[in-house]
Symmetry: C2
Subunit: 440 residues, 2 copies
């Protein structure tokens, strides 16, 4: 894939020296802790219980003194208890569906929406968006941040939003081929579904005009990125974020660090901590990603533990940015499957699957408990143009994928090759895992 | 229903004298015709063919010299041929699904979005929205203007948008009862569906905190307004608009002219014309509604014929506004059913149905041609709490509704009373009519 032109949106903040950035973020943190303590009773209680006062926080070095926050803070203070401003200072709410049934409700002030758009403009520049580009946004609009986030940022960037939202793949393709947008934003699995549909209908791909895509809201692998890029002819960027912090644009990959993500750390300060002890881990070690959204007004989260597992890297990237980078998220601590004591992530299985041209990147993982033993099986769709036409060939392919999964994850998974298009397709976030162990 | 507090958002423009308004709109028209002629080739061609130059238009009195535009202009110039600015000056597109398969594509500049928000703020004030109110927006977000229109206006107004978008009625009710918004925006049929679900689940309506609702995107009757108001305890306002002009907020009903709609005529100048001759009709006569969106930049439409049928009224409303008012839209010329030569609108049938407590406001209209004769039948759901428990009673009810439909429309429709909840429900725009006459 040829390089595309990119530029740096905010050189001052994206390329500043590490000490300078730490000092700036330190000041913002001090202010944020003070504001939040004064205005959000749940947070005052948390600090009081920890025996900390805002005066104890004089800069970034003191961040470790602060207690973590996490999704339980949203649950326990549902719906509006996490707000740090009076409700009438907000312009909007977003929410993400909690696994416990309670939504994580996040209020945004006008400044919060501006900040979010600014973070996204930095991402858009990394991906080579140009002013005047048509931006096809196929993330769902609504309480989910995927749609409205990029939508608002387009205006600030000087590009033109096409708010298609999710669903109705035929219309998505109609717009892609007839309006010819240069940029697309959606989940990576929905992009694959669009590509599948275009190929199935034998449509002329030369009608497309896409140059780059911003894909996120799901963990996805380098192998899936390669597939998308080669099948549809665009450059794919990994845009990362979560509603609790602001939404997509907390970070984004650039052309140089393709499997890493630059974090807009002057807005959202990242730490990596040990999942067991909560202690900060050094550069390069795998741990839980923690953010402090030091500039946020509506719902500032301080030391919010995302439970996303990754590593952090400092120093200058080849693109010229000095913002800290995290590795592609390979899984969340709470997405992690523990199979007979072994930690397994769906993305590890995807990595194995994607090595094979004989299968499609459509798979489902089933976990069950049989006679008190965890069993895991993976259904994978055969590629109609490439799969072996003998039983022996199919058996060999099955064994080979099983071997790769075992070598990556350390566990044996039973692979079952299935008909093309027989597994469910996603029009949004893909559900990859059916875990029936605890539902009986 | 008690009166709610309202105020006038922009007294200067909403209460100005008629002559003064005509002069202002005239100046805006002159400028709009000049801009559009210079920048939109399709419109230059239209004027050239009519033998008109922009210099012929010196004020509002000259508007009749201008040719009409209509949906065919969108179809013939799909997708971007109706733009009157270069594409890179836009911030967003919307589109409405054309019946011919081609979408009507409308580009908005930043000023267009501001103008639209301003028009909606005037509507919000008419309905008694207060600053700081939580506004539950259950119109679909995306290319449809119903969601993003009110969403953007909330920020300008000083209220807080909850972008729920359409669908997932259980979650809608969860937000209505747990977040307790004061205002709701959705289609009137979806509001009825929400109310049905609340009643069916025997939920405590006192948990709700709704004070007013802005309902539109469908033709609906006074009777449906009464039902919504009495069953859910809010004041219902009719918000009118169409994507080709700007979206919802082109006009809105106030507390005083409940069955009329104030048009924001300094932005969107309304005329009523004879459907046959195209000649302007005097105040109070039924005809087609035509708009000139004189302030729009992206896609200004001049004398756009909506084919909505209504009457216009001038003079001061009891609310103090002097903006021209149109009657509630009872149907579109192209929604009109011609049954054996008689013009019938679905809303006429609704008016008859809504008179009866024994049935629910859920009905479907079926039209077919049998032995070269048009036949029309109406299925209506029985009200589980009220319907007669004898065959004789049911027969009497059927005959009575048939009689009312005949007296309102002049045609005989066969009425069939059906089980509660047996007809399809809408989560957006309701499809009320299945016309099978021309599909064979």
């Amino acid at each position: 894939m040829a390089e595309i032109e990119t530029f740096i949106w905010d050189k001052e903040h994206e390329c500043m020296g590490e000490d300078e950035r730490r000092e700036l973020v330190g000041k913002r943190l001090v202010d944020c802790v003070r504001r939040t303590y004064a205005n959000a009773p749940y947070y005052k209680k948390k600090l009081d219980q920890a025996g900390i006062t805002p005066d104890d926080i004089k800069g970034l070095d003191d961040i470790e003194k602060l207690p973590f926050t996490d999704k339980l803070d949203f649950r326990d203070n549902y719906p509006f208890g996490t707000l740090a401003v009076p409700r009438d200072q907000l312009v909007r709410f977003h929410a993400s569906s909690g696994t416990t049934g309670k939504m994580k409700v996040v209020g945004y002030t006008a400044n919060d929406v501006e900040l979010w758009s600014e973070a996204l403009c930095r991402s858009f520049a990394m991906g080579g968006m140009k002013k005047g580009d048509l931006v096809h946004i196929a993330y769902g609009y609504g309480l989910f941040t995927g749609g409205l986030g990029p939508h608002y940022a387009c205006q600030k960037y000087g590009s033109v939003a096409i708010p298609v939202s999710g669903g109705n793949t035929a219309r998505q393709i109609q717009i892609l081929t007839e309006w010819k947008p240069e940029v697309i934003c959606c989940t990576p699995t929905y992009m694959l579904h669009i590509i599948d549909t275009i190929e199935k209908n034998e449509m002329d791909k030369s009608q497309l005009n896409l140059r780059c895509g911003f894909f996120g809201a799901e963990a996805w692998t380098h192998e899936m990125k390669d597939q998308i890029e080669s099948r549809i002819g665009l450059q794919a960027f990994d845009i990362y974020g979560l509603t609790e912090i602001v939404g997509p644009g907390v970070g984004c990959s650039c052309q140089h660090c393709q499997d890493q993500i630059h974090i807009q750390s002057d807005f959202f300060w990242p730490e990596i901590v040990d999942p067991e002890t909560g202690k900060p881990l050094p550069e390069g070690e795998l741990g839980e990603l923690v953010f402090s959204s030091v500039m946020k007004e509506g719902v500032p989260m301080i030391r919010y533990n995302t439970h996303d597992l990754t590593r952090i890297h400092y120093g200058k990237c080849a693109c010229g940015r000095t913002t800290p980078r995290i590795d592609k998220i390979t899984g969340r601590a709470d997405d992690m499957l523990i199979i007979r004591g072994v930690n397994v992530f769906p993305t590890q299985i995807e990595t194995a699957v994607m090595r094979y041209k004989e299968v499609l990147p459509h798979y489902m993982i089933y976990v069950d408990r049989v006679n008190n033993l965890d069993v895991i099986s993976v259904k994978i769709e055969l590629n109609p143009n490439q799969f072996p036409d003998t039983m022996k060939g199919l058996e060999k392919l099955t064994k080979s994928i099983e071997g790769d999964i075992a070598s990556i994850t350390g566990i044996h998974a039973k692979v079952q090759l299935v008909e093309p298009r027989s597994l469910p397709r996603s029009e949004g976030k893909m559900v990859r895992v059916i875990d029936s162990r605890f539902k009986k």
